[in-house]
Amino acid sequence: MKRLPANFLLGALLVSLVVGVAALSLVWTPHDPQAMSISTKFAPPSTEHWLGTDQLGRDVVAQLMAAARNSMTVALVAVLLGGSIGVGLGLLASALGGWVEDAVMRLADLGFAFPALLFAIMLAAVFGPSLTNAVLAISFINIPIFARVTRASANQIWTRDYVAAARAAGRGRFAISRDHILPNIAAAVIVQATIEFAVAILAEAALSYLGLGAQPPASSWGRMLSEAQTLMYLAPQLAIYPGLCIVVAVLGFGLLGDGLRDITDPRLVRAR
Protein backbone atom coordinates (compact mmCIF):
# COMPACT_ATOMS: atom_id res chain seq x y z
CA MET A 1 0.00 0.00 0.00
CA LYS A 2 1.38 3.33 -1.07
CA ARG A 3 1.74 5.91 1.70
CA LEU A 4 -0.67 8.77 1.48
CA PRO A 5 0.94 12.23 1.28
CA ALA A 6 1.21 14.17 4.56
CA ASN A 7 -0.78 17.15 3.27
CA PHE A 8 -3.66 14.86 2.40
CA LEU A 9 -3.67 13.25 5.85
CA LEU A 10 -3.44 16.56 7.74
CA GLY A 11 -6.06 18.11 5.46
CA ALA A 12 -8.40 15.17 5.94
CA LEU A 13 -7.95 15.42 9.71
CA LEU A 14 -8.73 19.15 9.84
CA VAL A 15 -11.64 18.82 7.42
CA SER A 16 -13.21 15.97 9.35
CA LEU A 17 -12.84 18.04 12.53
CA VAL A 18 -14.59 21.07 11.04
CA VAL A 19 -17.25 19.05 9.20
CA GLY A 20 -17.78 16.87 12.29
CA VAL A 21 -18.35 19.90 14.50
CA ALA A 22 -20.68 21.47 11.93
CA ALA A 23 -22.66 18.23 11.71
CA LEU A 24 -22.79 17.92 15.48
CA SER A 25 -24.23 21.44 15.77
CA LEU A 26 -27.30 20.22 13.88
CA VAL A 27 -28.28 18.03 16.81
CA TRP A 28 -26.39 19.40 19.77
CA THR A 29 -24.71 22.58 20.98
CA PRO A 30 -23.68 23.15 24.61
CA HIS A 31 -26.07 26.14 24.79
CA ASP A 32 -28.44 27.89 22.47
CA PRO A 33 -26.00 29.98 20.38
CA GLN A 34 -28.43 32.91 20.38
CA ALA A 35 -29.34 32.80 24.11
CA MET A 36 -28.19 36.07 25.71
CA SER A 37 -27.42 36.55 29.37
CA ILE A 38 -26.17 40.05 30.19
CA SER A 39 -25.36 39.09 33.77
CA THR A 40 -22.72 36.62 32.62
CA LYS A 41 -21.16 38.64 29.78
CA PHE A 42 -17.41 38.27 29.13
CA ALA A 43 -17.37 35.20 31.34
CA PRO A 44 -13.99 33.41 31.40
CA PRO A 45 -13.75 29.76 30.33
CA SER A 46 -15.47 27.44 32.78
CA THR A 47 -17.07 24.01 32.81
CA GLU A 48 -20.35 25.77 31.99
CA HIS A 49 -18.98 27.91 29.13
CA TRP A 50 -15.86 26.13 27.74
CA LEU A 51 -14.53 29.17 25.92
CA GLY A 52 -16.45 31.74 27.98
CA THR A 53 -19.14 34.11 26.75
CA ASP A 54 -19.19 37.21 24.55
CA GLN A 55 -20.32 40.78 25.14
CA LEU A 56 -23.97 39.69 25.23
CA GLY A 57 -23.33 36.64 27.39
CA ARG A 58 -23.75 34.17 24.52
CA ASP A 59 -21.81 30.92 24.70
CA VAL A 60 -18.76 31.15 22.38
CA VAL A 61 -18.49 27.40 21.70
CA ALA A 62 -22.14 27.19 20.68
CA GLN A 63 -21.72 30.20 18.37
CA LEU A 64 -18.56 28.81 16.77
CA MET A 65 -20.35 25.51 16.13
CA ALA A 66 -23.38 27.16 14.58
CA ALA A 67 -21.07 29.36 12.50
CA ALA A 68 -19.21 26.27 11.26
CA ARG A 69 -22.50 24.84 10.02
CA ASN A 70 -23.43 28.10 8.25
CA SER A 71 -19.99 28.36 6.72
CA MET A 72 -20.06 24.76 5.42
CA THR A 73 -23.55 25.23 4.01
CA VAL A 74 -22.63 28.43 2.18
CA ALA A 75 -19.43 26.91 0.77
CA LEU A 76 -21.18 23.69 -0.26
CA VAL A 77 -24.06 25.43 -2.04
CA ALA A 78 -21.76 27.95 -3.68
CA VAL A 79 -19.30 25.32 -4.96
CA LEU A 80 -22.07 22.96 -6.11
CA LEU A 81 -24.03 25.71 -7.86
CA GLY A 82 -21.08 27.54 -9.42
CA GLY A 83 -19.28 24.27 -10.07
CA SER A 84 -22.11 22.57 -11.91
CA ILE A 85 -22.77 25.60 -14.10
CA GLY A 86 -19.04 25.95 -14.77
CA VAL A 87 -18.56 22.25 -15.53
CA GLY A 88 -21.59 22.33 -17.84
CA LEU A 89 -20.26 25.33 -19.73
CA GLY A 90 -16.79 23.81 -19.93
CA LEU A 91 -18.13 20.53 -21.31
CA LEU A 92 -20.29 22.41 -23.81
CA ALA A 93 -17.34 24.52 -24.97
CA SER A 94 -15.16 21.45 -25.37
CA ALA A 95 -17.82 19.37 -27.14
CA LEU A 96 -18.83 22.00 -29.67
CA GLY A 97 -15.56 23.85 -30.20
CA GLY A 98 -15.48 26.69 -32.72
CA TRP A 99 -17.22 29.93 -31.85
CA VAL A 100 -19.12 28.41 -28.90
CA GLU A 101 -15.84 27.50 -27.24
CA ASP A 102 -14.40 30.94 -27.95
CA ALA A 103 -17.49 32.67 -26.60
CA VAL A 104 -17.57 30.62 -23.38
CA MET A 105 -13.88 31.11 -22.71
CA ARG A 106 -13.97 34.86 -23.36
CA LEU A 107 -16.94 35.13 -20.99
CA ALA A 108 -14.88 33.21 -18.45
CA ASP A 109 -12.06 35.73 -18.89
CA LEU A 110 -14.60 38.47 -18.25
CA GLY A 111 -15.76 36.69 -15.11
CA PHE A 112 -12.17 36.43 -13.91
CA ALA A 113 -11.58 40.10 -14.49
CA PHE A 114 -14.50 41.01 -12.22
CA PRO A 115 -13.48 41.22 -8.52
CA ALA A 116 -15.65 38.91 -6.43
CA LEU A 117 -15.98 41.35 -3.56
CA LEU A 118 -17.15 44.08 -5.90
CA PHE A 119 -19.78 41.76 -7.32
CA ALA A 120 -21.00 40.88 -3.81
CA ILE A 121 -21.20 44.56 -2.87
CA MET A 122 -23.14 45.23 -6.06
CA LEU A 123 -25.60 42.42 -5.28
CA ALA A 124 -25.95 43.71 -1.73
CA ALA A 125 -26.55 47.23 -2.98
CA VAL A 126 -29.28 46.10 -5.38
CA PHE A 127 -31.00 43.32 -3.42
CA GLY A 128 -29.90 44.12 0.13
CA PRO A 129 -27.27 42.22 2.09
CA SER A 130 -28.18 38.64 2.86
CA LEU A 131 -26.59 35.21 3.08
CA THR A 132 -28.39 34.19 -0.14
CA ASN A 133 -26.78 37.04 -2.05
CA ALA A 134 -23.40 36.10 -0.59
CA VAL A 135 -23.93 32.53 -1.82
CA LEU A 136 -24.88 33.80 -5.27
CA ALA A 137 -21.82 36.03 -5.44
CA ILE A 138 -19.48 33.20 -4.43
CA SER A 139 -21.19 30.82 -6.88
CA PHE A 140 -20.73 33.34 -9.64
CA ILE A 141 -16.99 33.66 -9.15
CA ASN A 142 -16.73 29.85 -9.21
CA ILE A 143 -18.32 29.53 -12.67
CA PRO A 144 -15.34 30.69 -14.79
CA ILE A 145 -12.86 28.77 -12.62
CA PHE A 146 -14.69 25.48 -13.17
CA ALA A 147 -15.40 26.26 -16.82
CA ARG A 148 -11.68 26.66 -17.49
CA VAL A 149 -10.56 23.56 -15.61
CA THR A 150 -13.29 21.47 -17.23
CA ARG A 151 -12.65 22.67 -20.75
CA ALA A 152 -8.88 22.16 -20.46
CA SER A 153 -9.23 18.62 -19.08
CA ALA A 154 -12.07 17.73 -21.46
CA ASN A 155 -10.10 18.86 -24.52
CA GLN A 156 -7.43 16.34 -23.57
CA ILE A 157 -9.95 13.53 -23.21
CA TRP A 158 -11.54 14.35 -26.59
CA THR A 159 -8.28 13.33 -28.28
CA ARG A 160 -8.36 9.84 -26.75
CA ASP A 161 -8.97 6.76 -28.87
CA TYR A 162 -11.93 5.65 -26.80
CA VAL A 163 -13.71 8.86 -27.68
CA ALA A 164 -13.00 8.15 -31.36
CA ALA A 165 -14.32 4.63 -30.77
CA ALA A 166 -17.49 6.05 -29.21
CA ARG A 167 -17.92 8.36 -32.21
CA ALA A 168 -17.36 5.40 -34.51
CA ALA A 169 -20.17 3.67 -32.63
CA GLY A 170 -22.44 6.52 -33.70
CA ARG A 171 -22.72 8.40 -30.44
CA GLY A 172 -23.31 12.14 -30.41
CA ARG A 173 -21.21 14.82 -28.76
CA PHE A 174 -23.45 15.25 -25.74
CA ALA A 175 -23.76 11.55 -25.00
CA ILE A 176 -19.97 11.24 -25.25
CA SER A 177 -19.55 14.24 -22.95
CA ARG A 178 -21.77 12.62 -20.36
CA ASP A 179 -20.58 9.01 -20.53
CA HIS A 180 -16.94 9.32 -21.50
CA ILE A 181 -15.62 12.82 -20.85
CA LEU A 182 -17.19 13.65 -17.49
CA PRO A 183 -16.11 10.47 -15.63
CA ASN A 184 -12.57 10.88 -16.90
CA ILE A 185 -12.20 14.50 -15.79
CA ALA A 186 -13.94 13.94 -12.46
CA ALA A 187 -10.65 13.72 -10.57
CA ALA A 188 -9.49 17.14 -11.75
CA VAL A 189 -12.89 18.68 -11.03
CA ILE A 190 -13.05 17.20 -7.52
CA VAL A 191 -9.58 18.52 -6.70
CA GLN A 192 -10.62 21.96 -7.92
CA ALA A 193 -13.88 21.77 -5.94
CA THR A 194 -12.00 21.01 -2.73
CA ILE A 195 -9.70 23.98 -3.21
CA GLU A 196 -12.61 26.25 -4.15
CA PHE A 197 -14.37 25.06 -1.01
CA ALA A 198 -11.55 26.64 1.02
CA VAL A 199 -11.78 29.82 -1.03
CA ALA A 200 -15.56 29.92 -0.53
CA ILE A 201 -15.18 29.61 3.27
CA LEU A 202 -12.79 32.54 3.24
CA ALA A 203 -15.06 34.55 0.95
CA GLU A 204 -18.08 33.94 3.18
CA ALA A 205 -16.10 35.05 6.24
CA ALA A 206 -14.93 38.17 4.42
CA LEU A 207 -18.42 39.08 3.22
CA SER A 208 -19.95 38.49 6.65
CA TYR A 209 -17.16 40.53 8.22
CA LEU A 210 -18.13 43.40 5.94
CA GLY A 211 -21.79 42.90 6.84
CA LEU A 212 -22.67 41.62 3.36
CA GLY A 213 -23.17 38.01 4.34
CA ALA A 214 -24.82 36.40 7.35
CA GLN A 215 -27.20 38.83 9.04
CA PRO A 216 -27.92 38.87 12.80
CA PRO A 217 -28.85 36.77 14.60
CA ALA A 218 -27.31 34.06 12.36
CA SER A 219 -23.85 33.04 13.55
CA SER A 220 -20.86 33.46 11.28
CA TRP A 221 -17.14 33.43 11.91
CA GLY A 222 -16.73 36.61 9.88
CA ARG A 223 -19.44 38.43 11.81
CA MET A 224 -18.06 37.23 15.16
CA LEU A 225 -14.73 38.71 14.07
CA SER A 226 -16.18 42.07 13.16
CA GLU A 227 -18.18 42.27 16.42
CA ALA A 228 -15.08 41.35 18.43
CA GLN A 229 -13.00 43.96 16.65
CA THR A 230 -14.38 46.82 18.72
CA LEU A 231 -13.61 44.88 21.90
CA MET A 232 -10.04 43.97 20.92
CA TYR A 233 -8.48 45.44 24.11
CA LEU A 234 -11.20 44.23 26.42
CA ALA A 235 -11.64 40.64 25.19
CA PRO A 236 -9.12 39.71 22.47
CA GLN A 237 -10.02 36.01 22.76
CA LEU A 238 -13.39 36.76 21.08
CA ALA A 239 -11.51 37.69 17.88
CA ILE A 240 -8.94 34.92 18.19
CA TYR A 241 -11.41 32.01 18.37
CA PRO A 242 -13.31 32.65 15.09
CA GLY A 243 -10.03 33.61 13.43
CA LEU A 244 -8.55 30.26 14.39
CA CYS A 245 -11.64 28.47 13.11
CA ILE A 246 -11.30 30.18 9.71
CA VAL A 247 -7.61 29.25 9.56
CA VAL A 248 -8.30 25.61 10.43
CA ALA A 249 -11.15 25.28 7.91
CA VAL A 250 -9.36 27.02 5.03
CA LEU A 251 -6.09 25.23 5.72
CA GLY A 252 -7.85 21.90 6.02
CA PHE A 253 -9.66 22.13 2.67
CA GLY A 254 -6.61 23.64 0.98
CA LEU A 255 -4.35 20.81 2.15
CA LEU A 256 -6.96 18.20 1.28
CA GLY A 257 -7.24 19.62 -2.25
CA ASP A 258 -3.45 19.65 -2.68
CA GLY A 259 -3.23 16.13 -1.29
CA LEU A 260 -5.93 14.88 -3.64
CA ARG A 261 -4.09 16.46 -6.55
CA ASP A 262 -0.87 14.71 -5.52
CA ILE A 263 -2.72 11.40 -5.36
CA THR A 264 -4.59 11.72 -8.65
CA ASP A 265 -1.73 13.21 -10.68
CA PRO A 266 1.03 10.60 -10.75
CA ARG A 267 3.49 12.97 -12.43
CA LEU A 268 3.61 15.24 -9.40
CA VAL A 269 4.21 12.41 -6.95
CA ARG A 270 7.13 11.05 -8.94
CA ALA A 271 8.72 14.49 -9.12
CA ARG A 272 9.09 14.57 -5.35
Binding site: D161, A164, A165, A169, R171, A175, H180
Partner: protein, 324 residues
Protein backbone atom coordinates in the same frame (compact mmCIF):
# COMPACT_ATOMS: atom_id res chain seq x y z
CA UNK B 1 -22.40 -0.31 -51.78
CA UNK B 2 -19.47 1.94 -51.00
CA UNK B 3 -18.01 3.83 -53.90
CA UNK B 4 -15.19 6.35 -53.88
CA UNK B 5 -14.72 8.31 -57.08
CA UNK B 6 -11.87 10.81 -57.34
CA UNK B 7 -12.03 11.34 -53.60
CA UNK B 8 -9.37 13.73 -52.38
CA UNK B 9 -8.63 15.15 -48.95
CA UNK B 10 -7.02 18.57 -48.75
CA UNK B 11 -5.39 20.19 -45.75
CA UNK B 12 -4.93 23.77 -46.90
CA UNK B 13 -2.82 23.41 -50.03
CA UNK B 14 -1.57 19.91 -49.19
CA UNK B 15 -3.37 16.93 -50.70
CA UNK B 16 -3.26 14.07 -48.20
CA UNK B 17 -5.36 11.71 -50.27
CA UNK B 18 -5.35 12.12 -54.04
CA UNK B 19 -8.08 10.88 -56.39
CA UNK B 20 -8.95 7.68 -54.61
CA UNK B 21 -11.17 5.36 -56.65
CA UNK B 22 -12.51 2.29 -54.96
CA UNK B 23 -15.62 0.10 -54.90
CA UNK B 24 -16.37 -2.06 -51.88
CA UNK B 25 -19.20 -4.59 -52.13
CA UNK B 26 -20.76 -6.73 -49.43
CA UNK B 27 -18.48 -9.70 -48.73
CA UNK B 28 -15.35 -8.04 -50.14
CA UNK B 29 -12.21 -8.39 -48.09
CA UNK B 30 -9.85 -5.59 -48.98
CA UNK B 31 -6.34 -5.06 -47.65
CA UNK B 32 -4.81 -1.58 -47.58
CA UNK B 33 -1.03 -1.49 -47.24
CA UNK B 34 1.61 1.21 -47.27
CA UNK B 35 4.16 2.92 -45.05
CA UNK B 36 3.27 5.19 -42.16
CA UNK B 37 2.06 8.47 -43.64
CA UNK B 38 0.73 6.87 -46.79
CA UNK B 39 -2.85 7.88 -46.00
CA UNK B 40 -4.20 4.50 -44.92
CA UNK B 41 -5.69 5.75 -41.65
CA UNK B 42 -7.01 8.91 -43.28
CA UNK B 43 -8.82 6.75 -45.83
CA UNK B 44 -10.33 4.73 -42.97
CA UNK B 45 -11.44 7.86 -41.11
CA UNK B 46 -12.99 9.18 -44.34
CA UNK B 47 -15.10 6.05 -44.64
CA UNK B 48 -16.32 6.72 -41.08
CA UNK B 49 -16.92 10.43 -41.69
CA UNK B 50 -14.34 11.13 -39.03
CA UNK B 51 -11.64 12.97 -40.98
CA UNK B 52 -10.16 15.88 -39.00
CA UNK B 53 -12.26 19.05 -39.06
CA UNK B 54 -9.55 20.95 -40.92
CA UNK B 55 -9.80 18.48 -43.82
CA UNK B 56 -11.62 19.49 -47.02
CA UNK B 57 -13.10 16.73 -49.12
CA UNK B 58 -13.57 16.78 -52.89
CA UNK B 59 -14.91 14.07 -55.17
CA UNK B 60 -17.54 11.56 -54.22
CA UNK B 61 -17.98 9.08 -51.41
CA UNK B 62 -21.17 7.09 -51.91
CA UNK B 63 -22.55 4.85 -49.22
CA UNK B 64 -25.73 3.00 -50.21
CA UNK B 65 -25.99 5.38 -53.16
CA UNK B 66 -26.01 8.46 -50.95
CA UNK B 67 -23.17 10.96 -51.37
CA UNK B 68 -21.58 11.34 -47.94
CA UNK B 69 -18.68 13.63 -48.94
CA UNK B 70 -20.74 16.64 -47.97
CA UNK B 71 -22.93 14.99 -45.34
CA UNK B 72 -23.45 16.48 -41.89
CA UNK B 73 -22.21 14.96 -38.64
CA UNK B 74 -25.80 13.99 -37.85
CA UNK B 75 -26.16 12.01 -41.08
CA UNK B 76 -22.89 10.24 -40.34
CA UNK B 77 -24.03 9.37 -36.82
CA UNK B 78 -26.92 7.42 -38.32
CA UNK B 79 -24.57 5.42 -40.55
CA UNK B 80 -21.85 4.69 -38.03
CA UNK B 81 -22.10 1.34 -36.35
CA UNK B 82 -25.12 0.32 -38.47
CA UNK B 83 -23.48 0.52 -41.90
CA UNK B 84 -19.82 1.25 -41.23
CA UNK B 85 -17.89 0.34 -38.10
CA UNK B 86 -14.26 0.49 -37.11
CA UNK B 87 -11.75 -1.36 -34.96
CA UNK B 88 -8.90 0.79 -33.71
CA UNK B 89 -5.20 0.14 -33.46
CA UNK B 90 -4.59 0.38 -29.71
CA UNK B 91 -7.00 -1.84 -27.81
CA UNK B 92 -5.90 -0.33 -24.49
CA UNK B 93 -6.48 3.25 -25.58
CA UNK B 94 -9.71 2.57 -27.44
CA UNK B 95 -11.63 1.44 -24.36
CA UNK B 96 -12.77 3.90 -21.70
CA UNK B 97 -10.82 2.84 -18.58
CA UNK B 98 -13.71 3.84 -16.30
CA UNK B 99 -16.45 1.91 -18.08
CA UNK B 100 -17.32 -1.76 -17.92
CA UNK B 101 -16.66 -3.28 -21.33
CA UNK B 102 -20.21 -4.67 -21.44
CA UNK B 103 -21.68 -1.17 -21.13
CA UNK B 104 -19.42 0.05 -23.92
CA UNK B 105 -20.48 -2.77 -26.24
CA UNK B 106 -24.18 -2.33 -25.43
CA UNK B 107 -24.17 1.45 -26.05
CA UNK B 108 -24.73 1.41 -29.83
CA UNK B 109 -27.39 -1.33 -29.59
CA UNK B 110 -29.50 0.79 -27.26
CA UNK B 111 -28.78 3.92 -29.29
CA UNK B 112 -29.38 2.69 -32.84
CA UNK B 113 -31.52 -0.40 -32.57
CA UNK B 114 -33.58 0.77 -29.61
CA UNK B 115 -32.87 -2.40 -27.66
CA UNK B 116 -33.77 -2.67 -24.00
CA UNK B 117 -30.92 -3.26 -21.60
CA UNK B 118 -31.68 -6.93 -21.24
CA UNK B 119 -32.00 -7.46 -24.99
CA UNK B 120 -28.73 -5.58 -25.54
CA UNK B 121 -27.11 -7.72 -22.87
CA UNK B 122 -28.25 -10.90 -24.57
CA UNK B 123 -26.87 -9.68 -27.90
CA UNK B 124 -23.59 -8.62 -26.26
CA UNK B 125 -23.28 -12.08 -24.71
CA UNK B 126 -23.69 -13.82 -28.06
CA UNK B 127 -21.27 -11.35 -29.70
CA UNK B 128 -18.66 -12.07 -27.03
CA UNK B 129 -19.05 -15.75 -27.79
CA UNK B 130 -18.83 -15.12 -31.51
CA UNK B 131 -15.54 -13.20 -31.18
CA UNK B 132 -14.11 -15.88 -28.91
CA UNK B 133 -14.20 -14.37 -25.43
CA UNK B 134 -14.59 -17.20 -22.94
CA UNK B 135 -16.85 -16.78 -19.89
CA UNK B 136 -18.70 -13.81 -21.48
CA UNK B 137 -21.08 -13.41 -18.56
CA UNK B 138 -18.20 -12.46 -16.26
CA UNK B 139 -16.24 -10.57 -18.92
CA UNK B 140 -19.15 -8.21 -19.64
CA UNK B 141 -18.84 -6.82 -16.14
CA UNK B 142 -15.09 -6.31 -16.26
CA UNK B 143 -13.08 -3.14 -16.79
CA UNK B 144 -10.52 -2.88 -19.62
CA UNK B 145 -7.53 -3.13 -17.25
CA UNK B 146 -8.70 -6.56 -16.14
CA UNK B 147 -8.26 -7.96 -19.66
CA UNK B 148 -5.30 -8.88 -21.86
CA UNK B 149 -4.52 -7.01 -25.08
CA UNK B 150 -5.99 -9.74 -27.25
CA UNK B 151 -9.18 -9.87 -25.18
CA UNK B 152 -9.56 -6.10 -25.39
CA UNK B 153 -9.18 -6.22 -29.16
CA UNK B 154 -11.90 -8.88 -29.26
CA UNK B 155 -14.12 -6.58 -27.16
CA UNK B 156 -13.53 -3.80 -29.70
CA UNK B 157 -14.44 -6.15 -32.52
CA UNK B 158 -17.64 -7.06 -30.64
CA UNK B 159 -18.35 -3.31 -30.24
CA UNK B 160 -17.85 -2.79 -33.98
CA UNK B 161 -20.24 -5.67 -34.74
CA UNK B 162 -22.86 -4.45 -32.27
CA UNK B 163 -25.29 -3.19 -34.91
CA UNK B 164 -24.38 -5.66 -37.65
CA UNK B 165 -22.55 -3.27 -40.01
CA UNK B 166 -22.16 -3.84 -43.72
CA UNK B 167 -18.53 -2.72 -43.62
CA UNK B 168 -15.96 -3.33 -40.89
CA UNK B 169 -12.80 -1.24 -41.05
CA UNK B 170 -9.86 -2.60 -39.07
CA UNK B 171 -7.11 0.01 -38.77
CA UNK B 172 -3.93 -1.87 -37.97
CA UNK B 173 -5.81 -4.11 -35.57
CA UNK B 174 -2.82 -6.31 -34.81
CA UNK B 175 0.02 -3.80 -34.55
CA UNK B 176 -0.17 -3.50 -30.76
CA UNK B 177 -0.45 -7.25 -30.20
CA UNK B 178 2.20 -9.96 -30.01
CA UNK B 179 2.65 -12.14 -33.08
CA UNK B 180 0.69 -15.14 -31.88
CA UNK B 181 -2.33 -13.13 -30.77
CA UNK B 182 -2.10 -11.01 -33.92
CA UNK B 183 -2.46 -14.11 -36.03
CA UNK B 184 -5.59 -15.19 -34.21
CA UNK B 185 -7.18 -11.74 -34.44
CA UNK B 186 -6.42 -11.70 -38.18
CA UNK B 187 -8.09 -15.07 -38.63
CA UNK B 188 -11.04 -13.96 -36.50
CA UNK B 189 -11.65 -10.88 -38.64
CA UNK B 190 -11.40 -12.94 -41.81
CA UNK B 191 -13.84 -15.56 -40.47
CA UNK B 192 -16.34 -12.94 -39.23
CA UNK B 193 -16.36 -11.17 -42.60
CA UNK B 194 -16.97 -14.46 -44.40
CA UNK B 195 -19.63 -15.78 -42.05
CA UNK B 196 -21.56 -12.52 -41.84
CA UNK B 197 -21.20 -11.65 -45.55
CA UNK B 198 -19.74 -8.35 -44.36
CA UNK B 199 -17.16 -6.24 -46.19
CA UNK B 200 -13.79 -5.95 -44.44
CA UNK B 201 -11.20 -3.24 -44.98
CA UNK B 202 -8.03 -4.50 -43.35
CA UNK B 203 -5.39 -1.81 -42.96
CA UNK B 204 -1.93 -3.01 -42.05
CA UNK B 205 1.72 -2.82 -42.86
CA UNK B 206 2.02 -6.51 -42.07
CA UNK B 207 1.92 -7.98 -45.58
CA UNK B 208 1.64 -11.54 -44.24
CA UNK B 209 -1.47 -10.64 -42.25
CA UNK B 210 -3.00 -8.90 -45.27
CA UNK B 211 -2.26 -11.92 -47.45
CA UNK B 212 -3.95 -14.13 -44.88
CA UNK B 213 -7.08 -12.05 -44.32
CA UNK B 214 -7.93 -10.46 -47.66
CA UNK B 215 -8.77 -11.26 -51.26
CA UNK B 216 -8.16 -7.84 -52.76
CA UNK B 217 -5.50 -5.28 -51.99
CA UNK B 218 -4.77 -1.60 -52.45
CA UNK B 219 -1.19 -0.36 -52.13
CA UNK B 220 -0.94 3.27 -51.02
CA UNK B 221 1.95 5.66 -51.10
CA UNK B 222 1.87 9.26 -49.84
CA UNK B 223 -1.87 9.58 -50.41
CA UNK B 224 -1.92 7.92 -53.82
CA UNK B 225 -3.33 4.51 -54.58
CA UNK B 226 -0.46 3.09 -56.63
CA UNK B 227 -1.56 -0.48 -57.23
CA UNK B 228 -4.61 -2.63 -56.74
CA UNK B 229 -5.84 -6.09 -57.61
CA UNK B 230 -6.22 -9.57 -56.14
CA UNK B 231 -4.06 -9.87 -53.05
CA UNK B 232 -2.32 -13.08 -54.17
CA UNK B 233 -1.50 -11.66 -57.60
CA UNK B 234 -0.32 -8.25 -56.42
CA UNK B 235 1.89 -9.69 -53.72
CA UNK B 236 3.03 -12.53 -55.97
CA UNK B 237 3.89 -10.48 -59.04
CA UNK B 238 4.00 -6.83 -58.00
CA UNK B 239 3.84 -4.37 -60.89
CA UNK B 240 4.65 -1.08 -59.16
CA UNK B 241 8.22 -0.40 -58.00
CA UNK B 242 6.86 0.69 -54.60
CA UNK B 243 5.03 -2.61 -54.09
CA UNK B 244 8.23 -4.42 -55.04
CA UNK B 245 10.12 -2.32 -52.51
CA UNK B 246 7.60 -3.12 -49.77
CA UNK B 247 7.84 -6.83 -50.50
CA UNK B 248 11.63 -6.67 -50.55
CA UNK B 249 11.73 -4.97 -47.17
CA UNK B 250 10.34 -7.87 -45.18
CA UNK B 251 12.58 -9.47 -42.57
CA UNK B 252 13.29 -13.11 -43.30
CA UNK B 253 14.38 -15.10 -40.27
CA UNK B 254 15.01 -18.29 -42.29
CA UNK B 255 17.91 -19.49 -44.44
CA UNK B 256 17.07 -17.02 -47.19
CA UNK B 257 17.87 -14.19 -44.80
CA UNK B 258 21.49 -15.33 -44.43
CA UNK B 259 24.45 -15.09 -46.75
CA UNK B 260 26.88 -17.86 -47.76
CA UNK B 261 28.75 -17.64 -44.45
CA UNK B 262 25.48 -18.01 -42.52
CA UNK B 263 25.58 -14.37 -41.35
CA UNK B 264 22.44 -12.28 -41.37
CA UNK B 265 22.07 -10.02 -44.37
CA UNK B 266 21.10 -6.40 -43.78
CA UNK B 267 17.37 -5.93 -44.19
CA UNK B 268 16.72 -4.34 -47.60
CA UNK B 269 14.85 -1.03 -47.29
CA UNK B 270 13.33 1.58 -49.54
CA UNK B 271 15.80 4.46 -49.15
CA UNK B 272 14.47 7.68 -47.66
CA UNK B 273 11.11 8.27 -46.02
CA UNK B 274 7.67 9.43 -47.13
CA UNK B 275 8.27 13.14 -47.80
CA UNK B 276 6.09 15.76 -46.08
CA UNK B 277 2.86 16.56 -47.91
CA UNK B 278 4.09 20.01 -48.95
CA UNK B 279 7.23 18.64 -50.58
CA UNK B 280 5.66 16.05 -52.88
CA UNK B 281 6.46 15.95 -56.59
CA UNK B 282 3.69 17.01 -58.97
CA UNK B 283 3.74 13.77 -60.90
CA UNK B 284 4.32 10.34 -59.43
CA UNK B 285 4.74 10.83 -55.71
CA UNK B 286 7.21 7.97 -55.48
CA UNK B 287 9.63 9.87 -57.72
CA UNK B 288 12.79 10.61 -55.80
CA UNK B 289 12.79 7.31 -53.95
CA UNK B 290 12.04 5.10 -56.91
CA UNK B 291 14.91 2.81 -57.98
CA UNK B 292 13.84 2.74 -61.65
CA UNK B 293 12.79 6.35 -62.12
CA UNK B 294 12.34 7.84 -65.60
CA UNK B 295 13.19 11.49 -66.38
CA UNK B 296 9.55 12.63 -66.59
CA UNK B 297 8.25 10.75 -63.52
CA UNK B 298 8.46 13.67 -61.11
CA UNK B 299 6.64 16.05 -63.44
CA UNK B 300 4.02 13.91 -65.09
CA UNK B 301 1.41 11.90 -63.28
CA UNK B 302 1.18 8.27 -64.36
CA UNK B 303 -2.25 6.98 -65.35
CA UNK B 304 -3.82 3.96 -63.72
CA UNK B 305 -3.11 1.16 -66.18
CA UNK B 306 -5.59 -1.70 -66.16
CA UNK B 307 -4.02 -5.02 -66.88
CA UNK B 308 -5.65 -8.44 -66.64
CA UNK B 309 -8.72 -9.14 -64.46
CA UNK B 310 -9.12 -6.12 -62.25
CA UNK B 311 -5.44 -5.44 -61.73
CA UNK B 312 -4.20 -1.91 -62.09
CA UNK B 313 -1.13 0.12 -61.24
CA UNK B 314 -0.08 3.73 -61.71
CA UNK B 315 3.43 3.75 -63.10
CA UNK B 316 5.04 5.14 -66.26
CA UNK B 317 7.09 1.97 -66.66
CA UNK B 318 3.91 0.05 -67.46
CA UNK B 319 2.85 2.38 -70.27
CA UNK B 320 6.37 2.48 -71.67
CA UNK B 321 6.24 -1.30 -71.78
CA UNK B 322 9.34 -1.74 -69.66
CA UNK B 323 8.74 -4.48 -67.16
CA UNK B 324 11.64 -5.44 -64.96
Amino acid sequence: MIELSNLSIHFGTAVALRDANLVIERGDRLGVVGESGSGKTLLALCLMGMAPESARMTGQLRIDGQDMATASERDWQRLRSRRVAMVFQEPMAALNPLRRVGDTVMEPMVLHDGLTRSAARARALSLFEEVGIPDPDRRLRQFPHEMSGGQRQRVLIALALACNPMLLIADEPTTALDANVALRITDLLQRLARERQMALVFISHDLAAVARATEDIVVMYAGDMVEQGRTAEVLGTPAHPYTKGLLGARPDPGVAGRDAQGKRRRLPTIPGAVPPLQGLPQGCRFAGRCPVELPHCAAQRPAFVQSDAGRAAACHLLTEGRHD
